[in-house]
Symmetry: C2
Subunit: 255 residues, 2 copies
Amino acid sequence: MSPMLLPNSVRDMSLFFGLTEKDRDDLLVEGSLRHYMRGQILFRHGEAVAQFYIVVVGLVQLYRENVDGSEKTIDLFRVGQTLCESEIMDACRHHRASAKAIDEVTVLVFSAAWLKNTAKKHIAFALNLLSLISKQAHLAEVEAEHQATLSAAQMVACFLQRICVLYDFDHRSFDLPYSKTLIASRLGIELETFSRALVKLKAQGVSVEGSHVRVSDLKRITQYVCSFCSVVNACSTHQELVNMSEDTASIKKVR
Amino acid sequence: MSPMLLPNSVRDMSLFFGLTEKDRDDLLVEGSLRHYMRGQILFRHGEAVAQFYIVVVGLVQLYRENVDGSEKTIDLFRVGQTLCESEIMDACRHHRASAKAIDEVTVLVFSAAWLKNTAKKHIAFALNLLSLISKQAHLAEVEAEHQATLSAAQMVACFLQRICVLYDFDHRSFDLPYSKTLIASRLGIELETFSRALVKLKAQGVSVEGSHVRVSDLKRITQYVCSFCSVVNACSTHQELVNMSEDTASIKKVR
DNA sequence: CGACACTTTGAAGACGATCAACGCCGGTGG
DNA sequence: CCACCGGCGTTGATCGTCTTCAAAGTGTCG
């Protein structure tokens, strides 16, 4: 697989910071591209953990099937995001959830051994991986906290903010990048609750028509969710995080 | 600080697996012991992240103060557990939560630079740290999922199981290691809800009188919470996890 | 014994889940 | 071209669960 063909969002991934271009490309060469049609399964809960994935095109859904057959979306991964790194580093032998393609998806696949060996071989890679997984751990903690403390409408508002940062959208006007059904599942709420939450957000200056979102008062919506939340959302990349953290104290004061 | 004085639960921490005893002790020497009285603050939300902590004695509460003054417990750390590793590796400059002593607490304190440098110097340490943080990320994910999908009674049952593994208690009869108020806060539910959840669990063969817990039917309570949950709870140490994962498939079938 | 922290219990209310009905839209097939 | 269908989203009604407020019970420690 020639690294030249990969989109910039993959070649510039934070995972490869601090490596020479040559080292990075030598590593990327060891991956192989794999395509999935809409709805196809990448891996299933319970199967052996054998591979590390980097999303190159499309959207991948990580989800769990409950005993009753319903699905709960754990997370959604877009271009430049990775799957299974924590399962591999955690020495977890079996997948803890299933993954499927939402769109037409292309992923770059590496063996689990590749990930471990690369971490051993390149200390910079190991530290980047640490940073990446730390960030995930933190996001998951915040998520757990939100589930416990925020109302549905607040979680939706928080999600909209996160979307803007992740996709680099204009915070005042943008289109939802995927269906409301999927968003509701991602947030752990029912579609009906999501729909009603959008109605409530109108009072906070957020209007959603179809898939188009317009936010009339950025400050109001930021205060509506906890201000801490907005810091988290803004810290999507390493560099942004470094910059943002300068301002954390002042944001705290503002609230 | 002489490593000889540290309890085994610290000297045998998974973080130092694969290092020689000498390397480990040389590293431990660089830490300094610090004592806190009941209720004293280790660090506050918003302060600069400067240190890495290993709990040597007592229980440390990580919590967030909401705008309205109420506290939400994010996690509780006992002997042999660590604080701030993910904040340090994540290059997060300011604490994302506050920490205080529940008991009388002793911690071993290292500079943030110590943690980063040790990871750079000893690849085994870096990999152990990766494993540790991966595990945390996973637990946090499961936690978020539980908050979204389980009832209060199920979360309490799940928590009791986790307690047993973490403290190596007899699963059939043990004492709660801390107050019900603290447990409720940890689970993100109100004390009243917690109390009522215990009443409901009587029907599942779990009786709690004062702080003493008796479980009459282990299988019933395991099935009451999702079976996936019990696998997670059991995977408290690296080695246990490696052993457990052998059985994951079979446990899945059982449910 | 009284003060105080911790816990339990009761009653009322808020919120989200669930079930049901309907509207909208794009595609398919007659 | 129209009828039908299925996927998606909205809205209404009802129900169960958790929170909130209030009161009372339990225990410990001075």
